[in-house]
């Protein structure tokens, strides 16, 4: 498959871009933030995602979705990143749909249609420590009657305080740190013993710290096989990683675009600052880095869609590279804007904040560089 967008994919981009620029531009984020909105995103907007067929991009057609792939999801996410649109798309339409895709028919029928229509919001509850480390699952699921009883805590559960569905990685056997013995559960909102403490993050989004105290779920809530959730968890996270990489390309791309505009307009010392060669060379270097990150992300998405075993390595590469390239974009963006780049009034700082969260989400550059080393046996 050629490593550029097909005509259909370009059409999707041409639809999603204007939709988000119109419905959820940066102003929309500012409004939610300044109103201290408790959800952190608009449910109405999410339903609109459903109407446009975006929420169900990865949902099979049989469940009312588009039956498309991670390349298409990445196209939407890049536009989300470009507009800093607050939405549960990444956790719900990408990560949760991938997880539920590994579940039995009943769970799939239970959750996928609602996601496709934009009614349902899902969240991923994996992290327990400060830094992403998915084998480090201590939250215990013990057999109890027909089902399981969950005890423990999760943090950095993006949208967890309002999610209808939680994808929970729990330990059913083996020790903390081991890949074996992890089981995925689909836990519904309002389960007894489940509490969420919403925390405002640096980018104004909300992630919850979640406490599980004797939360009872029945056996039907198990996604996939008991004790054997690692590979589906990895696939779920990789979907999230490639998605986050795509969103960071949007973040970095927009940061670069507004910075280039500034270089073409702002004068200092009687010249347009874009005429200064030192800035030109840095801008050209940034362009190269973003282009390379874009290629890596598209490649990873294509490999995911092809179920290629190399997808895991490339997902790590994409997340690490997009994280670094977009970081350069927001850093150079603020620096080249000078003082006004430091003000809340200008958007560039919002891009820097959003990048920070996405960089950490599902593992940062250091995490994935380490993964690249391990996957290559060194």
């Amino acid at each position: 498959m050629a490593l550029f967008l097909t005509e259909e994919q370009v059409m999707l981009k041409d639809m999603a871009g204007p939709f988000l620029a119109d419905q959820a531009p940066v102003k929309h984020l500012r409004q939610l933030r300044d109103a201290n909105d408790a959800a952190g995103f608009s449910r109405d907007l999410w339903r609109r995602f459903g109407e446009m067929g975006l929420a169900g991009v990865l949902v099979p057609e049989a469940q009312g979705g588009g039956g498309l792939g991670h390349v298409e999801a990445g196209i939407v996410l890049e536009e989300i990143g470009r507009n800093l649109s607050p939405s549960p798309f990444l956790s719900t339409a990408v990560a949760a749909v991938t997880a539920i895709g590994g579940a039995d028919a009943e769970l799939r029928a239970r959750w996928l249609p609602g996601i496709a229509t934009g009614e349902t919001v899902a969240a991923i509850a994996v992290d327990e420590g400060r830094r992403h480390d998915p084998a480090n699952v201590a939250l215990a699921a013990e057999r109890s009657g027909n089902g399981f009883r969950l005890n423990g805590a999760k943090r950095f559960v993006v949208h967890g305080h309002v999610a209808d569905l939680l994808i929970v990685a729990a330990r059913t056997s083996s020790d903390v740190g081991e890949m074996r013995g992890i089981t995925l559960f689909a836990v519904e909102k309002g389960a007894a013993g489940l509490t969420a403490d919403p925390v405002r993050m640096v980018d104004s989004s909300i992630a919850a710290e979640m406490l599980f105290e004797d939360v009872e779920v029945d056996a039907g809530a198990v996604i996939g096989t008991v004790d054997d959730g690692w590979s589906l968890l990895t696939r779920t996270l990789d979907a999230g990683r490639v998605g986050a990489a795509a969103e960071m390309l949007g973040v970095g791309g927009a940061a670069m675009a507004m910075t280039m505009d500034y270089l073409r307009q702002r004068k200092q010392f009687g010249r347009l600052i874009g005429e200064f060669q030192a800035l030109q060379h840095r801008a050209a270097h940034l362009y190269s880095e973003l282009e390379i990150a874009r290629a890596a992300t598209l490649k990873a998405a294509q490999l995911m869609d092809a179920d290629d075993p190399k997808a895991e390595l490339m997902a790590a590469v994409a997340k690490a590279k997009a994280g670094k390239a977009a970081m350069l974009a927001v850093q150079e963006g603020v620096q080249m804007h000078g003082g006004i780049g430091m003000t809340d009034e200008y958007d560039i700082g919002l891009y820097m904040k959003r990048h920070r969260l996405l960089d950490e989400l599902f593992g940062d550059t250091a995490f994935h560089a380490e993964r690249v080393a391990r996957l290559n046996n060194y």
């Binding site: 830094r131 640096v202 620096q335 003082g339 430091m342 940062d364 250091a366 560089a369």
Partner: protein
């Protein structure tokens, strides 16, 4: 015992007797320090006692002459005082742009009358100063500034707008660059002092990405400034400003590195536990190499500076390298802090410090400006 050793022993004894234990703890934030001024408030009785004890000796400005409210210490005595304060962990008793910036400029360029009028108030923290350099259309390019001061015989009439005025909303007076000759560039600028309570002065705080507002937009609408409140000759303000910018650069480059743990990695490991990720640990170790080397540089620069051996443009190098390193340090603190660090949190949250650090390489002359100065004045590259 040599005189210096006697002075050291006496100083230490005095500090131990007069610096309250609470004033030997690290500062927890910018609001935890005393800035003085007409509206200055002490955050604790200990803070007040410490300030007053130091101010009574003139040790808020130990090396200024006694005639101007200073401590009258020699350079070596000043160094001993600083060393003993550092050894005990004593806080600075007074934060002040008057001390850091205006004072040195007045000592060099002020008239005898100006020195006697302004310096004691600075030393005693009675007047809080702010700096009016940048303008909306002239960030790094001060030569393009447009705030006008017209000669109206017995006064200057000031009109215009400043930006990035630190704490202008809290300051009593401003030292300000104004254009007194529109036909010239650097040559048409003068350095004025005036009261922020003068009619026609207004300020508007600027909300930063870090969530704080240390800077203001400041507007001058027919502000009358007495003729004698000019430092240096008319149209010679650029000379004063350049001298002062050098001081600012030194201050900023020294800021991030005077205190704190000498090893970021050690500090992080003690606070957060051993590094689980080898790549992050390696990045921190490489940072620590650069940071420890820069500490040696800071020491060398100060030693050379005091001995008159430093290249006049060396502060640009210090400012450039120090601020870039501090930004890198905070990126690593964010990475090590993980999701904890992503919390918006209070003013002292690491996320706020991280965002604040991005201004380091912009304020007081951008990194690009500093590199240009190095290229021109140290490397003598053509056309720089």
């Amino acid at each position: 015992m040599a005189d210096e050793e006697i002075f050291r022993a006496e100083t230490r004894a005095w500090l131990e007797a007069n610096c309250p234990p609470a004033m030997r703890e690290p500062v927890t934030g910018l609001d935890d320090v005393y800035w003085g001024g007409r509206n200055g408030r002490f955050s604790s009785p200990e803070q007040q006692a410490w300030f007053e004890a130091m101010a009574a000796r003139g040790w808020t400005v130990p090396d200024w002459p006694k005639d101007y409210g200073g401590g009258g210490l020699s350079p070596s005595e000043t160094k001993i005082l600083r060393e003993e304060m550092a050894a005990l962990g004593c806080r600075s008793p007074l934060h002040s742009f008057g001390i850091w910036m205006l004072g040195p400029a007045l000592l060099k360029f002020g008239t005898e009358e100006q020195k006697r009028r302004y310096l004691p108030d600075i030393a005693q923290g009675r007047i809080r100063w702010c700096q009016g350099y940048s303008e909306p259309g002239a960030g790094s390019d001060l030569a393009g500034l447009q705030t006008r001061a017209e000669d109206k015989g017995d006064h200057w009439l000031v009109n215009g707008q400043k930006i990035w005025t630190s704490y202008a909303d809290k300051a009593d007076w401003i030292f300000c660059l104004v254009r007194t000759d529109p036909a010239q560039k650097q040559g048409g600028i003068s350095f004025l002092l005036f009261d922020m309570a003068s009619p026609g002065v207004s300020t508007r705080p600027i909300l930063l990405i870090s969530g704080s507002s240390p800077f203001c937009e400041t507007f001058f609408d027919d502000v009358k400034v007495p003729k004698e409140q000019i430092v240096g000759a008319v149209n010679q303000g650029w000379t004063v400003a350049k001298y002062l910018l050098g001081h600012e650069r030194e201050m900023i480059s020294a800021m991030g590195f005077g205190s704190g743990d000498p090893s970021l990695g050690r500090d992080l490991a003690e606070r957060l536990g051993a590094f689980a990720n080898p790549v992050l640990r390696a990045e921190v170790a490489l940072h620590d190499v650069d940071m420890l080397a820069f500490r040696a540089m800071s020491e060398k620069f100060l030693d050379e500076f005091k001995a008159g051996l430093a290249h006049p443009a060396q502060p640009s190098m210090m400012k450039y390298a120090g601020t870039e390193l501090n930004k890198r340090r905070l990126e690593l603190e964010m990475a090590a802090g993980g999701t904890d660090a992503l919390v918006w949190g209070d003013d002292n949250a690491v996320s706020r410090h991280w965002l604040r650090s991005k201004a380091n390489s912009i304020e007081g002359g951008t990194s690009e400006i500093q590199l240009g100065i190095i290229a021109k004045h140290i490397l003598n590259l053509p056309g720089a």
